[in-house]
């Protein structure tokens, strides 16, 4: 049985890590990171069948996750460190000179847990499709996961990839979209409306589900459902409604915290809302 109380405590610590990392460097993307903290904690501490803390680039015999919207690197780094891929103390080097924790995730510095560089948007779904096909060629029955942003859906490559996966029945792939309706310049619906994303992916041959990305129990159920529906001839997408800045009241309900750092006072305010459950780095 999944211990949601424990997972929520982990997610709270992950949120503390996020705001502390971004504050320390006065640089980074807290909004989307906080919004995806529940998903990322659930994936890395419960759902994914992985060999953590062991890391092998090829990921044979385990599930593989790709972060396509690489700017939410703080949440990715936090869950990887908390899961033991690298020392938690290394989170203090986020975005610092000669760090393995680059502004956007990369394989270039050899950080365990990262299999692909991301940051320039729109590329992760293609990569995930490639990894999913490699798994099929290897006879590996594990799954491939990819998280994208909603604003990222404006990139044309996403739709090339969506067409491929739908046409070629990439059914060992589970894509997620962080549907927080916000991007740097403002609401997605103003910057460039996405229309009916569900209908669009369905038209490309995907099975699409909608769920709340900040309610772990529901999200967990949805992920399990997707695992059970894998290998049935269609790719799957979870449209995951989230709140940007979730967990820190003054960062919620606005796109303003997409890519700016809290000052000392704001950090203190944020941390007062997030219990230190696992111990700060």
């Amino acid at each position: 049985m999944t211990d949601f109380e424990h997972l929520k405590r982990v997610a709270t610590q992950v949120r503390r890590d996020i705001v502390r990392m971004v504050h320390a460097r006065q640089s980074g993307h807290p909004g989307g990171s906080l919004g995806c903290a529940d998903l990322m904690t659930l994936l890395y501490f419960d759902h994914l069948r992985i060999k953590a803390p062991e890391f092998d680039m090829n990921g044979i015999g385990e599930d593989v996750f790709f972060l396509s919207n690489g700017h939410i690197s703080p949440v990715f780094y936090s869950v990887l460190a908390r899961q033991g891929y690298f020392p938690v103390s290394e989170l203090s080097s986020f975005r610092a000179i000669e760090s393995r924790l680059q502004g956007h995730p990369t394989t270039h510095e050899g950080l365990p847990g990262v299999r692909m560089s991301s940051g320039s948007l729109g590329q992760g779904l293609s990569v995930a499709i490639g990894a999913a096909n490699a798994k099929k060629l290897n006879g590996d029955k594990h799954l491939v996961y990819v998280l994208m942003g909603d604003g990222e859906q404006q990139e044309g490559q996403v739709w090339e990839a969506a067409m491929f996966a739908g046409s070629r029945n990439t059914d060992n792939l589970i894509a997620l979209i962080d549907y927080n309706h916000k991007q740097i310049d403002g609401p997605v619906d103003e910057v460039m409306p996405l229309g009916d994303l569900k209908a669009k992916y369905e038209a490309f041959g995907w099975k699409v589900y909608e769920t709340n990305g900040n309610q772990m129990e529901k999200l967990s159920e949805q992920l399990e459902n997707c695992r059970n529906e894998a290998f049935k001839g269609f790719p799957q997408l979870i449209l995951m409604k989230t709140e940007m800045g979730q967990g820190v009241d003054f960062m919620m309900g606005t796109h303003k915290w997409h890519g700016i750092a809290p000052n000392d006072e704001q950090l203190e305010n944020a941390l007062s809302q997030l219990e230190e459950t696992l111990g700060d780095y």
């Binding site: 990921g59 044979i60 270039h108 940051g119 729109g122 490639g130 990894a131 490699a134 090339e160």
Partner: protein
């Protein structure tokens, strides 16, 4: 070394035949193509190994991403499309998902340069070598004929890392040994000379050999080196030859900016800055025409190399 033309063959067929043989020997080799299977001569591979052949449709960005992803799991993906669509169209995908991520993808590009001919400048990329050699960690290979292309396909599969392999559409002299082994990073000395060194790449290597014959008749002793790997450049072989002749002509079917000529100029400037001439396209777009007409008009043939060498020797 004396070369004779065995036949006239397109280098893209060297790619297709090499890929097919590689597919038979190595089950990790997979191929991806963006709706140009016939033009890329990938049919044999596609037919023999359908489970390892991925038709992506006209979606090159996605093809590059899928190729990068397939390396995760140990595959050795070969992507196939025209040089224009293999580089400029997908530069950011190559930069982030392949080069920066250090993925073992082999980017195989046909119809490079002017000699794709009648399709014209939209397809005649002359900037691809420059684009690819600027990327950290990218190996850039440009073989000179059918036999060498076929050998190069096998060699790049053995190298762990991203590679750009450039070849072309027209039938060109096939003159190098059939059973050769391609050594990545090794420039091949085809002819010794004492007055001028001709450094050529791609099918201009044969033009350079012809130019050397003509120069000999004019009393100029020209050495010819096939620079089949542009990155990493074979510094020792080049500098050794240049030390004898004290001047260099480079020849390539590419823009002067970013190509072999600039790579060699950088090398010489940092070591022994002898005079140079560059046979290359001079900041122009191409146009429709036959390959022969275009090579003549843009001055990329043996006559152009002779002219450049003659001028250069008088400058020394």
């Amino acid at each position: 070394m004396k070369f004779t033309i065995q036949n006239y063959k397109d280098t893209r067929s060297g790619f297709g035949d090499g890929l097919f043989e590689l597919g038979q020997k190595n089950e990790k080799v997979v191929a991806l193509c963006a709706d140009l299977t016939g033009s890329m001569k990938m049919d044999a591979f596609a037919k023999a190994f359908p489970e390892r052949f991925f038709q992506t449709g006209i979606a090159e960005a996605n093809m590059m991403g899928i190729a990068a992803g397939m390396t995760i799991g140990g595959m050795i993906p070969f992507t196939g499309t025209f040089a224009n669509f293999s580089t400029g169209r997908v530069y950011d995908q190559i930069r982030q998902s392949i080069a920066y991520s250090n993925k073992n993808v082999k980017i195989c590009a046909s119809h490079a340069g002017l000699t794709l001919g009648e399709d014209g400048a939209t397809h005649q990329i002359l900037e691809d070598i420059g684009l690819m050699r600027m990327l950290p960690g990218m190996t850039v290979v440009v073989p000179c004929d059918y036999n060498q292309t076929k050998a190069a396909v096998k060699a790049i599969a053995e190298l762990d890392g991203p590679v750009y392999l450039r070849f072309g559409r027209p039938k060109v002299p096939n003159f190098t040994p059939e059973d050769q082994t391609f050594e990545i990073g090794k420039a091949l000395v085809y002819r010794e000379g004492s007055d001028v060194t001709l450094l050529a790449t791609g099918h201009l290597v044969y033009e350079a050999l012809q130019a050397a014959e003509q120069l000999e008749n004019k009393g100029i002793s020209a050495g010819v080196i096939n620079v089949a790997t542009i990155k990493p450049l074979d510094k020792n072989t080049i500098l050794e030859a240049v030390e004898k002749t004290k001047c260099v002509v480079t020849a390539e079917e590419h823009q002067l900016f970013g190509g072999l000529g600039e790579a060699v100029a950088t090398l010489l400037a940092q070591n022994t800055p002898y005079p140079m001439e560059m046979v290359a396209v001079k900041d122009q777009f191409g146009q429709s025409g036959t390959p022969q007409e275009l090579m003549k008009l843009y001055q990329l043939d043996a006559d152009a190399i002779v002219k450049a060498a003659t001028k250069l020797v008088s400058r020394k």
